[in-house]
Symmetry: C2
Subunit: 389 residues, 2 copies
Amino acid sequence: MASSFKQEAHQLLVIPGPIEVADDVLYANAHPSMSHMSPMFAGVFQDCLTKMKQVLYTEVGQPFLVAGSGTLGWDMAAANLVEPGENVLVLNTGYFGDSFAECLQVYGAKVDQLGAPVGDKPTVQQIEEALQKKKYKMLTFTHVDTSTGVLSDAKEICAAVKRVSPDTLTALDGVCSVGSEEIRMDDWGVDIVIGASQKGLGVPPGLCVVCASPKAITAFKNRKAAPTSYFASWNKWLPVMEAYGKGAAAYFATPPVQLIYALQASLATMTTKSPSLEERFALHRESSRKIKDTIQSWGLSLVTLNSDAAANGMTAVYTPEGLQPSAIVPRMLKRGVVVAAGLHSEIKTRYFRIGHMGLTAVDKSRGDVDTILKALKESLEEAGYKCKA
Amino acid sequence: MASSFKQEAHQLLVIPGPIEVADDVLYANAHPSMSHMSPMFAGVFQDCLTKMKQVLYTEVGQPFLVAGSGTLGWDMAAANLVEPGENVLVLNTGYFGDSFAECLQVYGAKVDQLGAPVGDKPTVQQIEEALQKKKYKMLTFTHVDTSTGVLSDAKEICAAVKRVSPDTLTALDGVCSVGSEEIRMDDWGVDIVIGASQKGLGVPPGLCVVCASPKAITAFKNRKAAPTSYFASWNKWLPVMEAYGKGAAAYFATPPVQLIYALQASLATMTTKSPSLEERFALHRESSRKIKDTIQSWGLSLVTLNSDAAANGMTAVYTPEGLQPSAIVPRMLKRGVVVAAGLHSEIKTRYFRIGHMGLTAVDKSRGDVDTILKALKESLEEAGYKCKA
C-alpha cells in the first residue's frame, strides 16, 4: 500500500539509520492534525511512555520523548546530570565517543576519555582502574558506535561501576542500539539511556528518546546549579512527561504529534505482537551473524576486532585491498541497496557500513538480508574482487 | 483521500497551532525512508532552504531547519547571538515574552523586559527610550503572542532599532506568524526569525525553522566565548545548512527526513501556486477580520485592545460575563471544532483562543471560518448567552 507514496522506485535503505519503516508506521506519521493538548493524544503519548519502558526493561525509569535527534539526548545528559567542573569518564569506541565528550565539555564537564584501537573497546580492567583513580559523576559509553560497529557490554560496564564507584551515574548512548540490542535498565543499573526514533525503533527521524533511572532523577533534583540549557532542561520536561505518564496533557514545547503516533504504531508491534521483544533481539543476532559470516567467508574483514563486541544491528566492513568504498557503495546503489560510507576519520577511506535493524532483521519474508548479500557480492565482483567461498 | 488514515471522525483543529495540514503534506510526511545523506534528499533540503527564504522575503538570510520545536529556536538565538553578561531587551506582549526572557537568562544574558497591559504592546516611544538608556546586544519581540493574539509591528520596531541603536540585533519570534503574517526580513532589517513547522507553514510539528541575517551570522562569528549549547550550536549547524544550501548532504545530527519532505510539499503550495504569497497574507487578514468582526458583533470582546495590533492567524476572545472557557470549549468540541483554552496567567479563566492559519484561512472551499462561527454561536447560546446582532 505504501506504493502510492513512491514517486520513484524505492531503494532498500540499509544504512545504520534511518532504517526501513513499516507501512503502518508511515501511515501513523500521516495522521491528521491533532491537538497536543487533547485527551486523545495524551493517551497516545502515555501509551508510548509505557511501552518505551517495556522495550528498556524498566519499571522505574522515567522516559522523555522530545522533538529532536539523538544528539539532543547528549545535551540532556550533559545539561541535567553533570554540573560544571564535575568529572565524566567517556568510554570511547569511535566517532560518537568523541562527539559525546565534546558535548559534555560544552556544558562544563571535565572529561577523561578511555579509548581503544579502532574496532576494539576498553577492557573491564581498564575501566575499573580509571574509576579507582578519580571520582566521576558519570561514566558514558556508546552502546553501539555507528562509526565502527563496536558493541559495548552494557551489563559488564554497569557491574564494574557498581563494584568500584557505585555513586557514579552510568550513561548508555543507545542511539544505534535501542530496539536492536537488549538493554535491561533496571537489572543492569543503567542510569540514562539516550536513543532516537530512526534506528531500532523503526520510526522516521525527529524524535529524541531518553529514559532516566530514579538515581539519575535524584541526581538531577539535587543539582546545585540550574541546568544551562533551556530546550533540554528537565526542569521543563519532567513535569510534562510525568503528566503525560498519567494520561494528562501538559505543555512546555509542542511535541512532534505525528511522530508520537508513528512511535505508538511501532512500539505496538515491538511489544505486543509476535515475534516477542526477546525473539526480536534474537532475530537481530541471527541476521547479523549471517551477514558477518558470509562477508568474512568471502575474505573480507570486519572493523570490529572481536566477534563478541560486534553490534547486531549493523556491520562495518573493510573494503578489499586496493578498493575504496567509492568502488562499492555506488555499485550497491545501482542495485537498489543503500549502504553508508565510512565515518571514522582514521579509516574513512577503507570501509563502509551496512545497517540491519528493525524490519530488515526481523521480517524474514522481506528477504532483505539476502538482497544485501547478493548486491554486495555482485558489486565486489564487478569491482574486480573475487569472493572466496 | 486522507480519510483512510482516520480511525475516528476528524475534528477541525483550529487552535493557534498545530493547524490543519493539507493531504499532500500528510502524504509527504509518510514518505518511505530515505538516507539523509543521499543526493536526492539533499535536493529536497536545498529546495526547502530556498523556499523558506522566499517566504521570509530574504535574499541574504541563512535558514536553519533542525529537528525540534520553536522553543529550540530561542535556544539558538540565546546561545549563538548573545554572550554571557550581554544585555537583551525583551518586548513582552504575553506568555511567550516571559518564556523567551527566561531562555535568554539561562544562557547568561542580562534581560530587561518592556511590557504592556494584557492585550496591548509597548509603544515605539517606549522602545526608543529603552534603547537610548542602555546598550543592548539584541532586542527580541514576539511577532504574534499566542497567549494574547497581540501582533507586534515588526517593521516599525526594526525601524526604531535602526534609528536609535543600529548595532542592536533584532530577533523576531515568528513561531505563530511565519507563513500567516508578512515578514520582510531584508527590507525591515530583521536579524533572526524563529519559527516552527506546525503553524502558518502548515506542516506537522517537529521542525524548528530559523533564519539569520548576515549581520546575525557575523555577530555569531565574532563571538569571544563559544556557544554554551551543543545541539543548538551554529558551529555545528551552519556548515551543514551551507552544504545543503548548495545541494550537498552534510551531517551533524540526523534531520527529520519526512518532515523535510512535508515542508517541501507545503512550501511548494505557498510559493508557486495560486494564491500567491501576498494573496495568502491577504486571505489571512480577510478571514481574521470576518471572525473578529462577527464575534464582536455578538457583544463579545477580544483580548487584543487595538485592532491594528491583532494577529491575523488567531483570535483571543473573552468569554461573556459569568461564563468560563469550560462552558465554551467542550461545547465547541461536541460540534467537532477544537479551539484552545487560555494560556496567559492573568486572564486564563476568562478567555479562549481560535486559530485560523493556513488552510483554514486560505482555502475558502473548506468553509472552516463559517464552521467555527456557527459552532461558536451555538455553543454560546447553549451556554445561556444571547448573541447580539
